[in-house]
Symmetry: C2
Subunit: 197 residues, 2 copies
């Protein structure tokens, strides 16, 4: 093939993006170098700054460059409600439904003993401590998958022992799907239909 080393390097580097195969990577490379070199440099800078400066919110563990994310820092959220989700993308999905005004806790995944992911890896102790800070209801919004259900069940038991109200979002969310891809109105129904567990 006739790629020069720097073109080859860029095509390969673009493959780190989810959903980008060899053909798309080649197309992106030519597009950037021929039509949008400024966009390419802006992207390089945005990538570097984000990797170097974005960490985790001290309170909810979502992605944030400030010690507290905008949601946790806001005075307008209901601090009696805590919604537990698997990923930062799930926080956004729930926010986009517009149906929730409480705070969040991001597990960063779900229990998966075979992969060595236990309660410690998903921050269960931090969640229990967080729930003691005036939280009246914890809404478990892990994915409606087998692993998400098992994780919700495990966390729910511990919270109940601690005397905290616990609910699970209703199964308006389609079973086997991923929360991140559920539309806002389905999430609204799921939140409204939540039941104590």
């Amino acid at each position: 093939m006739s790629y020069t080393p720097l073109l080859q390097q860029l095509i390969e580097a673009l493959r780190c993006l989810p959903g980008v195969g060899p053909k798309s990577a080649q197309r992106m490379t030519f597009h950037l170098l021929e039509r949008d070199p400024e966009g390419a440099l802006r992207l390089a800078k945005a990538l570097t700054e984000a990797v170097e400066r974005v960490g985790r919110c001290d309170s909810c563990r979502t992605l944030s460059e400030a010690p507290l994310c905008p949601l946790c820092a806001s005075q307008r959220r209901d601090r009696r409600l805590l919604c537990v989700v698997e990923t930062p993308a799930d926080v956004l999905a729930v926010e986009q439904s517009g149906a929730y005004a409480g705070l969040y806790f991001v597990l960063g995944g779900h229990l998966s003993p075979l992969d060595g992911i236990g309660p410690e890896e998903i921050g269960v102790d931090a969640l229990l401590a967080r729930a003691r800070e005036g939280v009246e209801e914890v809404i478990l919004a892990t994915n409606p998958t087998v692993e998400g259900e098992a994780t919700a069940h495990y966390i729910g038991e511990l919270l109940r022992e601690q005397g905290v109200g616990v609910s699970r979002i209703a199964h308006g969310v389609p079973l086997g799907g991923e929360l991140e891809y559920v539309d806002g109105s389905t999430l609204t129904r799921a939140l409204a239909g939540r039941k104590p567990i």
Copy 2:
């Protein structure tokens, strides 16, 4: 919404990639920051190096960080054949067909008077000079679109006046398509079926 400024900046910067909408950009951002920060830094470096160092081959005008691209620098190409294409991606498409062993000339587009793109913008003088360097046949492989056909016709006339043999790739390539997306076997047929014009 609850993106922090650096997340927002990265999501917007990713939109410079062709085919990447807001939802994909968000997905890419979370993926990179949560799962592949090294990939993100590698991509940032590859983008910067490519933009800063990749220019045009002095001879064929394709993308290259060296003064001569690997094809023009090769001793194994047939210098009597010159294939004229619109873009660097088209060079790769023809190379991938495996049916051609000559050299190339990249116009960087096609004639488009309404957009102010005339013979000078697509390097017609450079092409005519290049064709005088021992070239026996110029194969016009501009896109099989109205503009590509018009460009091929215009260039073909000038080359014939100069006494150079000229051919057009056969219409095995589907009309209205873009050369970059044609499969190798179709391109092979199109090259074999080329006719003098």
